[in-house]
């Protein structure tokens, strides 16, 4: 079982490698990747050096070029694919059909993974990517139960990777328009959900109020845990009352599901959080490395102990166990 870890900066990449990652994923400092946040990501030179560092330690680097190309600007995505391949990336993580087609033709030897952003959630979709572009791995959307994953794995001719910790996107991946409705920018096209440039916090009546693109989306009492300022985690008023109607501020923590996911035939476990700091990367990667080692040796897994890292100080096993059904 591989442990796939996030890195938003070269320092985080080194932290992930040192904490026990099998592979690190990262992206360029532009709109070609789905974590296009201020101050984050890699220049071409940083990527080359990061890959060299990781390879010296026997760790792979996967480059996420997983936004959907803007009409008339495909050159930016082509250049990202060419440069990542030239830098020695072990795999490219792609979502857009045009980028998959380009990468498969231009770099036939390059390992390709399908990003979670593509929302490939059934064997037919996966077969399409395998047959047309020769992809070797699918990152499954966070909407599937363990049983559904097991049946997809049985019917698919490529590896699967699933998220086990970090931020949750409640919409089917790659298809959410909440951020573009409020700000004109979306994770799918611009690489950023709820861009920081459109977020504001203000104090009102003893509560901190968060707004996105001018819409009030939440307010927090003095000691109430907070979440990311995304619309899906806003509180809304409806005829039936006020509260979280899409999802509460909560993080995925599937540490307890790792044995079941392994038995389902999953190849790799992924940690979300390229936007997080080195402390998160080192802490979460080390914790999951210890759990995986315990599972491998047949010992009972130590607790992940990552409550402080979670959004809203709350965790869930998400769709892996669909208890609401």
């Amino acid at each position: 079982m591989e442990l796939i870890c996030p890195a938003g900066t070269p320092a985080s990449l080194e932290a992930a490698v040192e904490a026990g990652a099998d592979a690190v994923y990262c992206g360029f400092r532009d709109e070609t990747n789905a974590r296009n946040f201020p101050g984050l990501n890699f220049s071409r030179d940083e990527l080359r050096k990061g890959i060299a560092f990781a390879h010296r330690h026997g760790v792979k680097v996967l480059v996420a070029i997983n936004t959907f190309a803007r009409a008339g600007a495909f050159g930016l995505w082509q250049a990202a694919i060419d440069d990542a391949a030239a830098a020695g990336a072990d795999a490219l993580i792609l979502a857009d059909l045009a980028t998959l087609d380009y990468a498969a033709r231009r770099h036939p030897g390059q390992r390709l993974h399908v990003s979670v952003q593509a929302g490939a959630a059934n064997p037919d979709a996966i077969r399409f990517y395998v047959e047309n572009f020769g992809v070797r791995r699918i990152v499954l959307p966070r909407v599937l139960s363990v049983m559904e994953i097991a049946s997809i794995v049985r019917e698919s001719a490529c590896e699967t990777e699933v998220f086990v910790f970090g931020g949750l996107c409640v919409m089917e991946e790659g298809r959410c328009s909440l951020s573009s409705y409020a700000t004109g920018q979306s994770p799918n096209m611009n690489g950023v959900c709820s861009p920081a440039s459109h977020v504001a916090y203000a104090e009102r009546d003893g509560r901190v109020v968060s707004t996105l693109g001018g819409f009030t989306i939440n307010s927090f009492g003095k000691d109430e845990p907070a979440g990311y300022p995304t619309l899906c985690k806003g509180r809304f008023t409806t005829p039936k009352g006020s509260g979280y109607i899409f999802e509460e501020p909560v993080s995925l923590d599937a540490a307890l599901m790792l044995p079941a996911l392994r038995d389902a035939g999953v190849t790799a476990f992924k940690i979300e959080g390229r936007q997080r700091g080195r402390a998160y990367i080192a802490g979460v990667v080390r914790s999951f490395r210890n759990i995986l080692a315990a599972i491998d040796e047949g010992r009972s897994a130590p607790p992940a102990g990552l409550a402080a890292m979670t959004e809203g100080q709350m965790s869930t096993v998400g769709a892996y166990r669909k208890g609401w059904r």
């Binding site: 900066t9 320092a11 700091g277 402390a279 102990g305 409550a307 402080a308 100080q313 965790s315």
Partner: protein, 184 residues
Amino acid sequence: MSDPQMTELPVTPPALPPWLARAMAPLPLAPLQPALALMLDRIGRTHPDLYGRLGEHAEKCFGIDPTDLPFAFVLEPKPLRPRARAVRNLPAGLDACIRGPLAGLVGMAEGTLDGDALFFSRVLWVEGDVAAVLALRNAIDDARIDFGTVIFGSLGPLGQRLADALRRQLQSLPVTSSGGRTWS
């Protein structure tokens, strides 16, 4: 749908002992200014990549408010003329402001604490230009600066005591935390 049983509090950096803030309150700020200038100069020379990450936000004016100290800092990272100064109260007209206990601010800057986790637990708070704050946070996280030593090492014996107190606080924090609510 939330599980109502709430449990332990998450890891939060403690505030500095009040005696330290009281001891510092009457001190003049003037001697701090050359030390801050020296610090910025040193950081700028040893971590030039920091400006690449800050991009356009290097021109912004940041307020940094350690809520357990009797003074705050104004930071203008501008590549050609970086400035940092200590002030009794933050002035109006800042682009952005970050507030929190000194141990939280230094822990985040040094990479021992995660900024988002501090935000989720309401230890740190930001006002103003959130994009500028994120850029600054990410640039500093990547630079791996030993802030405790750089800032306080040049402030004489009191600065040294402050650095030692901070170091003890940060080292006493557990790396992981339990508790938190679960939701299913």
